[in-house]
């Protein structure tokens, strides 16, 4: 696994109140990939992400970034947080300033960049997320979707190598969900590793290069989406269901409508083309 950018080895983590959130979890995320982390509510996804960013320190086990073991010294933590960005579920929790410009400038300033550079980064991040016209507006007068984009620009401005999106689509309607997914693909093309947590199996199936299935602080299954989503038992035990594309595909094979030797379709269009 020489090209893994983030790695967790045998993580065990208990919250101070005794809840065991991670239970000997190992995971390795490859550079430049699109990774989906699937799991029911409370499976430990968010806890793992906070480990990737060095916010939480495991009771046992270790985190590796780019092959190096994180030692939780100030300098290394800074490096880690520079390179691994998290876009949190609730933008209202992440935005601390009412000024969009101030808000986005916070991260780059913490990196110790010059004012000039920071201004440039803020501008670029706003451009990419399409919020340049919000510059003069206060966050509290914006819609959920707009706040979500600001929270993404927050992280983009830091130019991390990995961006983790925690449940990015839950509150978005179908149109905005599609937009944001397109956006993920775009930044991924620029070489950023994108990790996405979700319990939307259809989304994970058609989007990800690689899927991890979580349950109770452990990894239940890993693999390419085609393999993972064939495994009904695995999905059941993680409180998940099969993506409808897979379900229909299997049914169509059973009913001999389509040829079982054809490769399993990833997107709706592919499935329809098979028929």
């Amino acid at each position: 696994m020489s090209d893994s950018i983030l790695e967790a080895q045998d993580l065990i983590f208990k919250y101070p109140d005794g809840t065991k959130a991670l239970n000997g979890l190992s995971i390795s995320i490859e550079k430049g990939k699109k990774v989906a982390v699937l799991g029911a509510n409370g499976a430990g996804k968010s806890t793992l992400f906070l480990h990737f960013n060095g916010i939480l320190q495991p009771n046992e086990g270790q985190i590796l970034f780019d092959g190096e073991v994180i030692n939780y010294k100030k300098k290394m933590l800074k490096e880690l947080r520079k390179n691994v960005g998290i876009v949190f579920q609730d933008p209202d929790m992440q935005l601390f300033s009412s000024s969009v410009f101030q808000e986005i400038s916070f991260g780059p300033l913490n990196l110790g960049l010059s004012e000039e550079k920071v201004k440039e980064r803020v501008h670029d991040a706003m451009e990419v997320t399409g919020i340049l016209d919000l510059k003069e507006k206060p966050t509290h007068l914006l819609s959920y979707g707009q706040k979500k984009r600001i929270s993404i620009a927050d992280i983009l401005a830091m130019k991390p190598q990995v961006i983790i999106f925690d449940e990015p689509t839950v509150w978005l309607d179908p149109k905005h969900s599609i937009e944001i997914i397109d956006f993920f693909n775009e930044i991924n093309k620029q070489g950023i590793t994108v990790v996405l947590s979700t319990h939307n199996v259809d989304l994970a199936y058609s989007w990800a290069d690689y899927v991890y299935v979580f349950a109770e602080g452990k990894i239940l299954g890993t693999g390419e989406p085609e393999e993972i989503f064939k495994d009904k038992e695995l999905l059941m035990s993680a409180n998940l269901t099969q993506p409808w594309i897979v379900e229909i595909y299997e049914e169509l094979i059973d009913k001999q409508v389509i040829d079982p030797n054809l490769s399993i379709p990833r997107a709706k269009e592919e499935l329809l083309a098979l028929i």
Partner: protein, 261 residues
């Protein structure tokens, strides 16, 4: 959510340098206070109303409604000052007697009260000019340039943001309580409110924790550093401000106001 705040972001003078606007408001405010003259106060009220309504394009009706906010305090307090309690009944325009005290009003005190009322309204309209044309974020950045302690500035930035988050939360909880028949009687209103308040506090507590996490994830190390967008000073505006203030002082002296008394 808060009218004044919304106008501050959408008014027609938004793009003017915040320091210019603050200077104009504060200098005029001081002039009004120091001049202590009915005529100067009236001129300032009209000036500010004019600028707010015609330059900043705030609807006149909204401005009038806002001017009424402090009026209850002003009326109550000025009336209290206008009323004289004395054992000596001379000089009263009208009075009633209670035992050996006379309670009533005197002409001189009415004048004092009117002056006080208008002076206060004059400075209030200066405050409104600032509040309606300059977003709080920019007022905070002015304070930052004035070298107000960092921690004070940081707290202001955070508090301003979280006022709206908590207001939103409070509203949602209130709606949920009302839809379950909360606030429908006095006792019930009391209980509903204290549940709301305590819940809001707990929510605020968890938010504080969550906020720390999200800031740490962005490399926070104890100081909240942010950049401000640039504004350009306008020499013309600065000259205009100075001329206005000189004009106001001239009016005060000319009409016999007791400047610096």
């Amino acid at each position: 959510m808060i009218d004044i705040d919304q106008y501050a972001y959408s008014n027609n003078l938004r793009s003017i340098h915040p320091i210019e606007k603050a200077l104009f408001a504060l200098l005029t405010m001081l002039t009004c206070l120091v001049a202590n003259s009915i005529i100067t106060s009236l001129v300032i009220i009209l000036l500010m109303a004019g600028v707010v309504i015609f330059r900043a394009k705030i609807p006149a009706t909204s401005f009038a409604k806002m001017i009424l906010i402090p009026i209850s305090f002003l009326l109550m307090s000025t009336i209290t000052i206008a009323i004289t309690i004395s054992k000596d009944s001379s000089g009263f325009l009208y009075y009633i007697s209670l035992w050996d005290w006379q309670i009533g009003i005197k002409f001189k005190n009415i004048l004092i009260a009117i002056n006080l009322f208008l002076k206060s309204l004059g400075t209030v309209s200066c405050l409104y000019f600032l509040a309606l044309t300059t977003p709080m974020i920019e007022i905070i950045s002015v304070l930052k340039k004035l070298k107000v302690p960092k921690i004070f500035i940081e707290l202001m930035i955070l508090i301003y943001r979280f006022i709206f988050v908590l207001l939103d939360t409070a509203n949602l909880i209130r709606v949920s309580q009302m839809s379950r028949l909360g606030y429908s009687s006095f006792k019930n209103a009391f209980l509903s409110l204290s549940e709301l308040v305590s819940n809001l506090f707990i929510r605020a507590y968890y938010r504080a924790k969550g906020l720390l996490t999200t800031l740490l994830a962005r490399g926070y190390e104890g100081e909240i550093r942010v950049l401000e967008p640039d504004y350009e000073f306008s020499r013309k505006n600065l000259v205009l401000i100075i001329l206005t203030e000189i004009g106001l002082i001239f009016i005060t002296v000319y009409t016999g106001g007791d400047l610096f008394v």
